[in-house]
Amino acid sequence: MDTPDSGGKTPLGRKTAETGINFTSSTRFSRGLTFIRTHTLFGQSPTRRIIPQTSLLQENADSQKIAFLLRKQWTLYSVTPMYKFSYDNLKEYSRLLSAFVATEKQKGLAVEVGNDLGIKVTLSTFLGLKGTDQDQIAILVQIASRSQLPFENAEDKVVWSGWFCCISGDDLLESVPEDFTCLSLFLANGAESYTAIVGSWFQKTFDCYFSRLTISPLNLAWMAAMWTGCKVDSHIAATELVFSVPCIPQSLDISYAIHPEDAKALWDTVQKTPGEVTQEEVNLFMDCLYSHFHRHFKIHLSATRLVKVSTSIASAHCDGNIKILHSKHLIGVLMLLTELAISQIQ
């Protein structure tokens, strides 16, 4: 097939400068994707991660909104870059999305009996929720049902919330043209039917793709190690690991709770360089916990599957549910989740 844009060359070949095969200019569907390939390890996770030292929120952060994010169960999704999303149009989007939600909810009712559903969707920016200055501004989406009470100032009740963010997603950002907005991590709280409706509206409107973001046992172990090492002044909770043993007919869960100070002491002996965590250290930390458990209960936890991690910082479930407990470590947790989301979409 002749392509007018290939300038006399063939549609052959592609990318990868490092191998000397360099027909990049003549490809179409692999065009401009070189960057992605260089960053892709085909799903492998990195062997080293940096713990952000300045994990504090930026100054302009709205503390009320931040508090809203904490202590709630959020379901994680990864989102591919959104095409032609504009921060200037949030009001318009709110209006369109409200109509879409109402439409979807009324589907199947011919002549709707009773009042309107009284649903209002609001999109707003989430200032200060950034890891680096390059990160795109986070977005909060809320669905509120209008109060049925007769008073003028009765508050609307939020029935569903979701937010998009991308903390330290520089790698992805650099590689994507301006028309795209990278808000790769999406967190939802509320009825799944609303998540589906909102997700499908975004997919339709900005040609993006939502996928559930599950957390592998390996990454849960990383979380266990990284969060154990974080300093917490208040609301100290036990470090708890839940393991699942596949049994028939019902699976068996083993909960392993450790006093947070003991866990921290163990981690401090394992970690070599402050501010940095390696795969080896994570393995060693978990192995220590496993052998301790084996000494007491004669059960090899390494043969089971890690399904949940709870610490004073946050708790995470392998199904892709997360609860963040501390605003101080919010950015750090989101950074790791963003990394996982980006690795899922690339």
Binding site: L12, T19, I21, L33, L96, A196, D207, I345
Partner: protein, 681 residues
Amino acid sequence: MQQRENAKNPKQALQVRQSSLSAWQIGARTAGPKTVHLKSAQKHEKEKQQSASEQAGSSTQNHLEQALTYFERVKDYIPLRKNEVLQKHLATVESIALQRGLSPEGLNVLLNVALSGHLADTVNSRILKCLIPASVIAESSVVSAVSWLCVGKCSGSTQLLFLRWLIAMFDFIDHKEKLHALYGFFFCSLQDEKLGMQPHLQALLSLYKLFCPELVSITLPAKMKVRNGLILPACSTDTNNPARSKEINHVDILSHSESFPVEQLHTFSQLLQNIHRLEFPSQMGSVLRNSLLLHYINCVKDESIYLRLYYWMGQTLQEECTWYKLDNQQYEEEFKDFLDIVYKTECFLQEGFSSCEEFLYKSLPLWDGFCCRSQILRLVSWIPLSSFSEMKPHLCEPLAQLFFTSSLYFKVIQVLLSFCLTLLCILKLMSCVNVVCFSDCCSRNTTLSGLLNSVAELIHFVGWISTVALRLENNATFLMYFILDFYETVCDVYLKYNLPLLVMPPPGVFYPALLSMDSVSLNQLCYIMYRYRTNLVAAKENELIKKTILQFKFSSQTYQEYNQYIMAMVGCLWTSSAFQKDIHPQGIRLDPEVLKKTRVQEVRSSFNIVHHPALMGYAILFLQQAWPEDKTLNFNLIKGRRWNWYLEYLYMQGLQGLKLFIESSINRVSQPCYILILTSP
């Protein structure tokens, strides 16, 4: 109760009536002037109704008549509050409507009053919600209702409710000719923000658009998708994204033309006429099913198109991949269809998608080799050619693992696959070499040779897995056939594709074929060696007369390898010097002392064309035909002139490969014969 049922279905209602009314009335009703007969039919209906429930019926009927008369006389605004008369009549209408439905006349009266704006909105809403027809709705009532809307007396919410009622009751309207003429009005109302957003209206319009697309110029949103799944997005322009509509408007101003919505794109000529003002679909994934749009994106330089497609396809493949799911049965068919579409698109575009390539690299190591097999293998053939070092760990190794652990049948498939892969690479290279001009080629020398090396390595890789497979399967003939088939392509690359590439089969393939029990394999090998020779000779001549386009040469090692094989072959088949002349390091040369110890008689001639196990059957048949009286089967009779007769006999049996090989590689003019070996130029 019967009335309620009738109201639900006009056809049923008609049947019931047919049984109660005489046939001529029905005939007249459907054929003659409508309104009059409709009313007469309705009166009959009423009479029947009354006779059925004489006592209770008459009193409620009176109440209804009163109520209708009341509503008919409303000429001014009447408030609801503290208006007991209105409330009483309203309640009557509501209860009767819910019990047995309303007559066309009743509906007419109530529609008029509800849309006249004389009553409060809550009353209008209650009236509209109880407009349940007992039989049909007169078209004239609907037309007059629409005219009320034009006057704008009633509120937006009442208008909206009326439209919903209209859509729900559409099938109950007795005739629709006049109503059809009013569609312009409905289209206009779509521009209205409040009315236009209604899914009911849009659903109606999209149905209409299906039948008369030229009449509906408004773009309607595509069917909504709640579940992420293998539903390819519908091809439609986006009306939702203000950022994009603005962009389109901007273009409009400049070009003084409207953009052309993709929904209306049906023919190639339309594409050509509107190519300058075509809008992209809101979801790029939809182009997969639309060949016209595929043509279009083929000639548009816009990175965002590829990126949108890249992300969408990558995620869809990953999310829907069957072998990642636990209960995969129900999704496998869906996934297969999707892979087929992707493959067809790749064929159409003549290029692989990088998202698909990455998906294969990621998921092949986890593949069971069975699920969606033909789809996966076909997609593998579209993986863009890259360096072998990159392909090997992601592609070749997982496939090799599957190859060694699966059945014979699957091995054959795998060889075929590798064959396809190589062939494709070759084809691509060929197009590349043909197009890239000479000077360009020089500057890109490294690049081209890199590509050639990749193909060569791939062929070596296939050679390696073939060697192992033949050993595992005890040189199965069926497998050998496919492997040699592969080499039939490989040996002819130079002449067929004009590529300076020649890879000999490994000894693990060559010797089992040479010593095979099967004449088909031997014949195939002879043909392959003949083609290798032809290619090498051509290359040599081209180099000598400097006709060569490319600056590549076959190394002297290639010639040497060929010569080693040819000497072994001629030694076995012709000169009866098997085990002697073979100089290949992995060949079948054996020490005479060792051979002696085997005590096999005439060891040296045991693989010539007479005694070779693959040909001995022919030799026996030949002897039986030539000397039918001799039952001793004396193979030594075949020599001299008879040797030549026997050769002709073999050729007549279809061993054309053998013929070509012997005629090209052995000089039989002088005695003793010479093996025609090749020297590198």
